[in-house]
Amino acid sequence: MSETEPTTNDAPELSRRPGRRRGRDDGKFGRYGGQYVPEALMPAIEELTDAYERYVLDNEDGFMDEFRERLADFGGRPTPLQRAERLSERYDREVYLKREDLLHGGAHKLNNALGQVLLAKYMGKERIVAETGAGQHGTATAMAAAHLDMPCEIYMGERDINRQRPNVFRMKLNGAEVNPVTAGRGTLKEAISETMRDWATTVENTHYVIGSVVGPHPFPVMVRDFQAVISEEARAQSIEKTGDLPTDVVACAGGGSNTMGSFAAFVDDESVALHAIEAGGSTLEVDEEAGVAPNSASLFAGEEGVLHGARTKLLQDSDGQIMESHSVSSGLDYAGVGPELAYLVDEGRVTPVAVDDDAALEGFHRLSNTEGIIPALETAHAFGYLEEHAEDLGERVVVTVSGRGDKDLESVIEETDKRDVAGAPDMSMFSGGI
């Protein structure tokens, strides 16, 4: 960066965002964060930190300008902030929806994937690797890589590949290679470990596009900065539409990219309450013997530990072995969470709440049949929360619709059929496959 003032109006505004100074120094958020990675990855991480500071923070070579332009033209930004009429009436307060489901690809994931693939190009890398759980980050990365003409390989647990065949097909349509991961239980955390192993072998020409605000510094701050466009838009849109900031922002939390994206621009606005809605799964009880936590509520129920390069809150047993998490929504199904969120929760700035599978399914059906929006099962947790806690909220609530639910229809049919879900249509005619 030269000594002259940045040429865009955005850069000075960005530099005031919380955590930014800490991020530039050592990637610590209080006691959380850090760089717990094998030595072979450290040079790559130092190179990435340098690139993050130059291109993202300082807009060198107009990186952020190109990122925003591509988000608009390829991604379809800005996404609307829409008043939800029935929900506003139902809960007797103004409910606004930040419509990330309308972003290209149908979820907020493209914000990060496009940012990182573009950054890899600026860094002169020749190849992209990424992990994916349910396939949302994998499909977003494959789209971004095709758009920017970068070879791309996606690691996905074998079990997830079998559960999410349409997403595997989408990735292949966009020219990505999909590598099955057979280690462990074959889900997201094994896929992350395997992608880190690939990167440890190929750091010289490869960038790892991590899918959330997790991992070693600079990933948590960098992914937050790419996703922050959600709350930057929502903040401005709220002021424009209502003349004021919202009283509450509600966002679902798995690894935390949607959550941090939805909160980042509001963290300094002390009047705005921030609610992170985690997957409570079937129960918050854990089965130590089997190493299984039947939920993914690491902020709410997790303990401090070190996983995938960062110190954060984790679902782990008393020895420190990582638990297999569970949620009806595979996108929230992760045993860790971004270190900045862990920090904001400890500071009392973000309130974590766990919403169970049943309430999430009800939320899914409620939004579908009252507002005409079929949300992702991840998003549906936020609407489960609204139903249970609307009375605790202020008069203007923004809920991020992190993605659309088309990808979840098969599991919704199956899960709805198992239960008595309020407001759900009769799904029995579809169960057993459509």
Binding site: E39, A40, P43, A183, E304, G305, V306, G309, G320, I322
Partner: protein, 284 residues
């Protein structure tokens, strides 16, 4: 090689010849067989033994050691059983624990590495290798090691240079683990040339240099020691023998014999390399 660390036994292991440093995951495939296997390494000439305490997310390991980790965890291995194993073990070689930081951090009070190190000292371990703990985050563990007289080994990769190398070398003790190539652990049919460059970079530092990642034969061992290494670290090639034993349903004795015999081959290779190096130095 002068002693540079806390453990006299580790320092002695690198004196007067090349050190053969084998690794096995403890509890692979079960507790009792694993005891026999580690003792076989000792009979085969081990100078130091690295004992792996399995962690559920071993990000630095290739498929071979991942397999061992899964077998061991499924067999019920825990940090407490690991410590009991170390106490029960009847070997001459000094023992080093290789594990991931979360297990060290969570042990006891769950608020730092001290409890784990204290227990390790009590059962007779001499040091640690922690692949996911970079020098920047290592001070609490370094301090606990100094308090209880243990060593902390760091890994140096082919890409480690400049300030990073300096930071690591100011905190390392016992020996430095020189990673022979990029990537994760795993036996290879060839060993990378980057080893020689790494050894050259480390020459000025007064601590034993043990080379690992990919070594699987006596020939490899010979070449690496001839190239200046003070020791060789071998993991996956030994774990492969354990895995083959599981697959072919071999007796514990048969697997132990194979481990002992590969150990002898590796150790003999290292000694040939050392002799060649000494001869070359004398003829100069």
């Amino acid at each position: 090689m002068p002693a540079t660390g806390n453990s006299e036994a580790l320092a002695a292991a690198f004196e007067g010849g090349p050190a053969y440093v084998p690794y096995l995951a403890v509890g692979d495939p079960d507790y009792d067989a694993s005891l026999e296997y580690v003792e076989a390494l000792d009979r085969g000439g081990a100078d130091v033994i690295e004992l792996g305490l399995p962690f559920s997310e071993p990000i630095a390991e290739g498929p071979t050691i991942q397999g061992a980790v899964v077998r061991s965890l499924e067999g019920g291995m825990t940090p407490d059983r690991f410590f009991a194993f170390v106490e029960k073990l009847d070997v001459d070689a000094p023992l080093v624990c290789m594990t991931y930081y979360n297990l060290i951090y969570q042990y006891g009070d769950g608020d730092g590495p001290r409890d784990f190190v204290e227990k390790a000292a009590e059962v007779g371990l001499e040091g640690f290798v922690v692949p996911d703990l970079p020098a920047e985050e290592a001070d609490p563990l370094r301090e606990a090691c100094d308090e209880f007289g243990l060593d902390l080994v760091f890994i140096v990769a082919p890409t480690t240079t400049g300030d990073r190398l300096e930071r690591i070398m100011s905190r390392v003790s016992g020996y430095v683990y020189v990673q022979a190539r990029l990537g994760t652990t795993g036996a290879k049919s060839d060993v990378a040339d980057s080893t020689t460059e790494s050894l050259d970079r480390l020459r000025e530092y007064d601590v034993p240099k043990a080379v690992g990642f990919g070594i699987s034969s006596g020939e490899h061992a010979e070449r690496i020691v001839a190239g200046g290494a003070d020791g060789i670290i071998v993991g996956s090639a030994l774990v492969d023998i354990v895995a083959e034993g599981v697959e072919a349903d071999l007796s514990t004795e048969a697997v132990a014999d194979r481990l002992e015999s590969l150990s002898r081959e590796l150790k003999a290779g290292a000694e040939r390399g050392y002799a060649a190096r000494t001869e070359a130095a004398e003829s100069r």
